[in-house]
Symmetry: C2
């Protein structure tokens, strides 16, 4: 199976990690997807696996010339949707960094381009493959907390050093789509309900000179069946913290409450004797799972439909925060 | 100092507990404030401390006849504001269960009646006197996390057995004012900013036949200086849980993050080496502090202004949830 790579931003490390499990995948071409990025860095990241890859300055020429089976895209965010559309038209399976579109018009074009193709398309929603979150999700799907009623999700990151593309909405997309997308995806994934309205707020105050980058954001989603979800995001995690991120979720059901915190899963229900930890077991990897899905050996935990739903939710939440009003889906 | 008691609902236990510290306070009169409640139960609750108290079927006659220095009110919620107004007009200090008003019109009348009096007035916001929350608050006021930017507050209760007055908005007030008021008060107390807008949602689904009682609610407050706060409430805490309530707060600041969870206080900032627990020390009690405030020996942690601000925030949040729209303060 032949793979081309566009860009070295975001989570291309998922590809590198996953390649170990799928030795039959060969990187045939690489392209930065932008003149701003450096192909030497890309070659460095992919090392031996890219040693025979042809380098293209223009991503479209690469796709059109090599016609790979799969392309992995993590270049400039603002170019993602067009890159995906080009790949769809060439019949190439697409694994793409989120957000796959940075505005609703692009998203609509992307959905239209995907409709009718038979390619596999998924965004890099790596958190679904986090062992603790996956364990919690399986437990909720098994009914361990009854019916889901309320969700509180949290993303908290260290700010660290951020390159210039984080400073502008045009190239960064915003903290709600970039950081919040994972948590917004959990809301969609755990609730099994449809988004109905969102109200959100965000602020770029105290962002250490990073232009438009929002340091805090908060969303309130209402879903079908009167399920409500809060999504909290911030870049204020202190440098001294033990991990880059502090990802959490708390899901309140009619018969119990489950939580993920610090990579552990905690349950309270009337079968558990007080608050108990659940055993966390999981061995699937997002990129190799994507490849095995194409081969018919697995079913990806995230697909095109999920990707479109979550992207729309992120973009409407950002719009709600920008316009300070409730937005209906 | 003479004290009259109206009602045995809510948190009159604060009064009973606090009386131990202020032996000079004498209960001179008790009244249920409603024909629905039982004076025998009231006498039972206050035991020896009420043995010389005169019993009145009509609370106003009690106040007007005995002219106590202080009245503690925890009767039917829907009568609180008029009871407070009557006491203000008689020059009596008022310690009142929250909410002190169940609609905005009542609240306005109450504020007008209070203006110009020199009585001390506070609601039973007992959570300010919780040692962990107070410790966290002192630390935040000392600047341990820099400037507050984001707050996530949580109240989660067991449903248990609830009397009929919980089934109707008219007599219960709603889950946002009843359960959420503590957490909404934390937002006000920790942020030191003014509420600007609120958007909220609530649902009475799965309430075990308890009429209008909402089982879940979620609020998003925007405050001055671009501070945002989520307040999550639910009655789905399983019976098997070790405590009735699961009260939490997480406060994100420009230089650190502090949390209260399970009666403990955790801090991450760049002086702390990772996440550390803070020593929880506190020995003040809400009712005895109220009395010592009147005597000039202390300053209550909650006063009339706080009470009015938080009551308004609760009522506007409930209105937002009822009307599904953003409401400005």
């Amino acid at each position: 199976m032949e793979l081309c790579i566009i860009g070295s931003r975001g989570h291309q490390s998922y590809v590198l990690d996953g390649l170990k499990d799928v030795p039959f995948v060969k990187i045939t071409g690489i392209s930065t997807g932008t003149e701003d990025d450096c192909v030497v860095e890309m070659k460095h990241i992919f090392g031996d696996r890219a040693q025979d890859a042809e380098v293209f300055s223009d991503y479209y020429s690469m796709l059109d010339t090599l016609k790979p089976d799969v392309v992995s895209i993590a270049g400039p965010l603002e170019k993602h949707s067009q890159m995906c559309i080009d790949a769809f038209e060439l019949g190439i399976h697409v694994f793409c960094e989120k957000p796959v579109a940075t505005n609703l018009k692009e998203l609509e074009k992307l959905k239209n381009a995907f409709a009718g193709t038979d390619v596999h398309f998924a965004s890099m929603m790596g958190m679904r493959y986090d062992p603790a979150f996956y364990t919690a999700w399986c437990s909720v799907m098994d009914g361990i907390i009854g019916e889901v009623r309320l969700i509180n999700a949290q993303k908290s990151y260290k700010l660290g050093h951020r390159p210039n593309n984080y400073s502008k909405h045009e190239t960064y997309g915003g903290t709600i789509p970039w950081v919040g997308s994972h948590a917004i995806d959990w809301v969609h994934w755990f609730s099994c309900e449809s988004f109905q309205t969102v109200y959100a707020a965000h602020s770029s105050k105290h962002n250490c000179g990073l232009g438009e980058l929002e340091m805090t954001a908060l969303c309130l989603f209402s879903l079908t069946n009167d399920i409500f979800a809060s999504v909290s995001m911030d870049y204020f995690r202190p440098d001294s913290a033990s991990t880059h991120g502090d990802d959490r979720i708390r899901i309140v059901g009619t018969r119990g409450i489950i939580e993920v915190n610090k990579g552990k899963v905690f349950l309270i229900n009337n079968n558990a004797n007080g608050r108990t930890g659940l055993k966390v077991v999981f061995d699937r990897q997002i990129f190799s799972d994507f490849i095995e899905h194409i081969n018919g050996n697995s079913v990806s935990l995230i697909d095109a439909e999920d990707t479109f739903i979550v992207t729309e939710a992120c973009l409407l939440a950002r719009q709600s925060a920008d316009e300070e009003r409730v937005i209906a889906f």
